[in-house]
Symmetry: C2
Amino acid sequence: MTEKGSGPVARTVLQQCLQARLQVKPAEENSEAQFVQIDRGMVIYICFFRGATDDILPKMVSTLLNVRLCESDSGKMVSVLELPGSLLIVPQATLGGKAKGRAMQYHNNISKEDGLRLYGAFVSLCEKELAAAASAAASEVTVKHGTYGNRQVLKLDTNGPYTHLMEF
Amino acid sequence: MTEKGSGPVARTVLQQCLQARLQVKPAEENSEAQFVQIDRGMVIYICFFRGATDDILPKMVSTLLNVRLCESDSGKMVSVLELPGSLLIVPQATLGGKAKGRAMQYHNNISKEDGLRLYGAFVSLCEKELAAAASAAASEVTVKHGTYGNRQVLKLDTNGPYTHLMEF
């Protein structure tokens, strides 16, 4: 918030969960709402700023998946890959907001087109990394994600969210 | 995360909720766990850094309660006081974390004693502001909060968390 010029190009908020459920399609006249769900793991809320490019994605994903943000059953801090835990990725443009008077402004957020592309690439990279680690550990973890541009109707159950902020 | 020297003295993450429930006392041999709960309103995760003093609290509370972070029934962005919504305040020391290699470090966090005092004063001020606004509007809103230093076992139900970051 205090950065100028060379500020971050992406902002993430991380929360631990026992279970998290996200609506990916609202109910319509002839169809029920659709949801994705993970059990134990981490929710990644993500927002890209103007200037973000694909170049930052490998470092972002590697950091988010390997930094020790999660508490294991024995109370030790481990990474989500080590836990092993699932991922729920939630596009969250509001994270780019800056207060001006009583209004929030989002002038620094990436364009919708570029944001959609980067978000898709971020999800793919997470899927690849998690699949590689899970296959090595023979664990059943998964990556789920919200739809860019939609309302993110979320239900979260935690044993302590351990909320972290990481900017890139 | 990129600030040096004159960085923020407090970091908050704000999420909108339809209902939020927080454990304030874990189950013990002879007693069940105790919870506090709010319905529609805002969850404030809060972390103070070294250098934070009581002087910042009035501005923080005024900003958090008056900036338009919430979506009204008609889809208009309004403040939590205007909504009117309740508040769930969650002490969240992890928000002060900074990655060093694969470990998170919390060296910049305020001391436990000062943090406890500031957190208590922050909660009191929120209660006062919300009560004044609610009494004026004859609405039934409330302030609930977690216990500083405890594990924050949280359950959150949203219609879109609209996650925001605000630093002071």
